[in-house]
């Protein structure tokens, strides 16, 4: 079940450092939202705050609200573990669990939450691997370690692992930055597939990628070193890349940045 995310007046801190300032943004369901912007502008930090991964870093702090279908994930009664079960994440570098087989990697989320029924786990493993376009490549070696796959396959394995727990939203933090163009294409095709069922937010440094896969694009920027990052504008991807509302956005996407 894809759900919508509403970010309201979000301020993010690392200790005393104000990393991101006053971000408000709506992410519609079954839609791909891309975050673009220069390094250090806080787009990954915002992404990590959407499933409460930001607070894992020591001293990290969040102000403001993130609503998942109207429910604040930062409400004091909400368990961050539950939030992360509902809002999945794929990371920059593929990170399969090295001690587990391909199959065990995919079902790790379910197995470690107490699902023991082997038949069900096998079903989920197959469905998720098919969903991540990896099934045909690995179906004969499900018991081999996940670390033996190529980088692109590992990243799709991580996507399979993330969708195996059937999240409502999928967050992707530069999922292709460590991959070659062919693997990147495979992941981008996959994102377009996944959009039918999931709400997706993707951080990317590759503007062509943002233009190719996303429906809506948010441009983040920072005014100077030590200043908090800001959301400059968010709009339909087509509009951002053809006729952006802000000069900073136009400079960035046309390469005249800084």
């Amino acid at each position: 079940m894809a759900k919508r995310l509403d970010i309201k007046d979000l301020n993010l801190f690392y200790g005393k450092f104000h990393a991101v300032e006053n971000v408000s943004l709506a992410v519609p369901p079954k839609n791909v939202t891309a975050f673009i912007g220069p390094s250090g502008c806080g787009k990954s930090t915002v992404l990590r705050s959407l499933n409460r991964m930001h607070e894992v870093a020591p001293g990290a702090r969040v102000e403001g609200k993130v609503l998942l279908d109207g429910e604040d994930i930062y409400a004091s009664t909400v368990d961050p573990v539950e939030v992360r079960r509902t809002i999945g994440m794929v990371f920059q570098r593929p990170n399969p669990f090295p001690t587990m087989s391909i199959r065990d990697n995919v079902v790790a989320g379910l197995r470690l939450s107490g699902v023991k029924d082997k038949k069900k786990l096998d079903e989920v493993a197959e469905r998720s691997l098919r969903g991540a376009n990896l099934w045909n490549e690995v179906k004969d070696r499900l018991d081999k370690p996940g670390g033996g796959l190529s980088g692109g396959q590992q990243q799709r394995l991580c996507i399979a692992r993330a969708i195996a727990v059937q999240p409502d939203v999928l967050l992707m933090d530069e999922p292709c930055s460590a991959l070659d163009p062919i693997s990147t294409l495979a992941i981008e095709d996959l994102i377009t597939e996944l959009k039918k069922e999931y709400t997706i937010v993707i951080v990317t440094h590759n503007m062509q990628q943002a233009a190719r896969v996303s429906d809506q694009t948010a441009f983040f920027n920072l005014l100077g070193v030590g200043q908090p990052g800001q959301l400059i504008e968010v709009d339909d991807t087509e509009k951002i890349f053809s006729n952006p509302g802000q000069k900073a956005t136009e400079d960035y996407i046309s390469g005249r940045f800084g």
Partner: protein
């Protein structure tokens, strides 16, 4: 430019690359000589010790009685008997020590790496573990003697030895486990959290299995070290030439203690027993190390 293309050795321009200069060759020679020299100096005593132990001890342990009999009922100068009682003592004291130390050590390391962060408790724990690492075994033995025997009035026993060994083993296990947990990438922890797996389960099911082979090697090495400790057995357990299964009471032999005891025996029999006990200890520790290697190979993360 009339360079003959068929002959690559004839170049119109001076070559870009020249042969290694004399001064670099000399420096390289000196450095190579020093490295080899250091290697030989380090290896000579090792080979020498091993050779002496094997040459003098090997004939002794070939006798089946050595592994099956104690020294019970034998006079000092009599040949025969065995080290069964001492092997039992060394193994049981080492294992009891490991059973106590391993959970404590691993849990302390988990606290330091996963929970402590830069808190004051974590810092002072690290500091104390560092100090404990440097405590000589005789100090640990005397400490246990003071608390266990002088203060609580309990008798000398194998258990007291094990407790003194715990003091020596815990810091080693904390240190190695800490290092192993630290090299588990944070990305794996984050991947696990992002699947909605709670922190404790992430540690138990993801972090520890990833680091397990290294942790196990550390445990085995620590065990090998404490099994050879002499001071605690000397202070905390009297020597018994017969087998004593009772951990809690009475004298119990161990291999280091048997060697110390037989040193007072000037006869040929005593001489043989010292070397026999020495090689037995070396063999036991080698077996533990081999076991550690085999297990950690089996547990190490694989890619194929």
């Amino acid at each position: 430019m009339s360079t003959n293309l068929a002959d690559p050795t004839r170049l119109a321009t001076p070559p870009t690359f020249q042969s290694v200069s004399v001064s670099r060759r000399i420096k390289n020679g000196i450095a190579t000589g020093l490295v080899w020299g250091a290697f030989l100096i380090a290896i000579i005593p090792l080979v020498w010790v091993l050779y002496t132990v094997i040459q003098r001890g090997f004939p002794v342990i070939l006798d089946g009685d050595w592994w099956q009999k104690s020294m019970s009922g034998l006079l000092a100068r009599q040949q025969g008997g065995g080290a069964y009682h001492a092997i039992y003592g060394t193994l049981v004291q080492g294992l009891v020590c490991a059973v106590i130390s391993v959970p404590i050590g691993i849990m302390v390391a988990i606290y330091l790496v996963e929970y402590g962060g830069r808190s004051r408790l974590a810092k002072s724990t690290t500091f104390m573990v560092d100090i404990l690492t440097g405590v000589p075994s005789i100090v640990a033995a005397l400490f246990v003697y003071t608390v266990w025997i002088t203060t609580f009035g309990l008798g000398r026993s194998a258990l007291a030895v094990s407790i003194a060994l715990v003091l020596l083993m815990v810091p080693v296990i904390v240190r190695t486990t800490e290092e192993m947990l630290k090299i588990v990438p944070d990305e794996l922890r984050e991947a696990s959290y992002a699947l909605g797996i709670p922190k404790w389960k992430t540690i138990v099911k993801i972090v520890i299995p990833t680091a397990l082979s290294g942790i196990l090697t550390g445990i085995m090495l620590a065990l090998a070290r404490v099994m050879g400790e002499t001071a605690p057995v000397l202070v905390l357990a009297a020597y018994a030439p017969f087998i004593n299964y009772n951990l809690f009471d009475g004298p119990m032999a161990s291999l280091p203690l048997m060697m110390v005891n037989e040193r007072n025996n000037p006869t040929q029999a005593g001489f043989e027993r010292i070397w026999g006990a020495a090689i037995t200890l070396v063999v036991l520790i080698t077996l533990f190390n081999l076991l550690a290697t085999v297990i950690s190979r089996a547990l190490a993360p694989k890619t194929k």
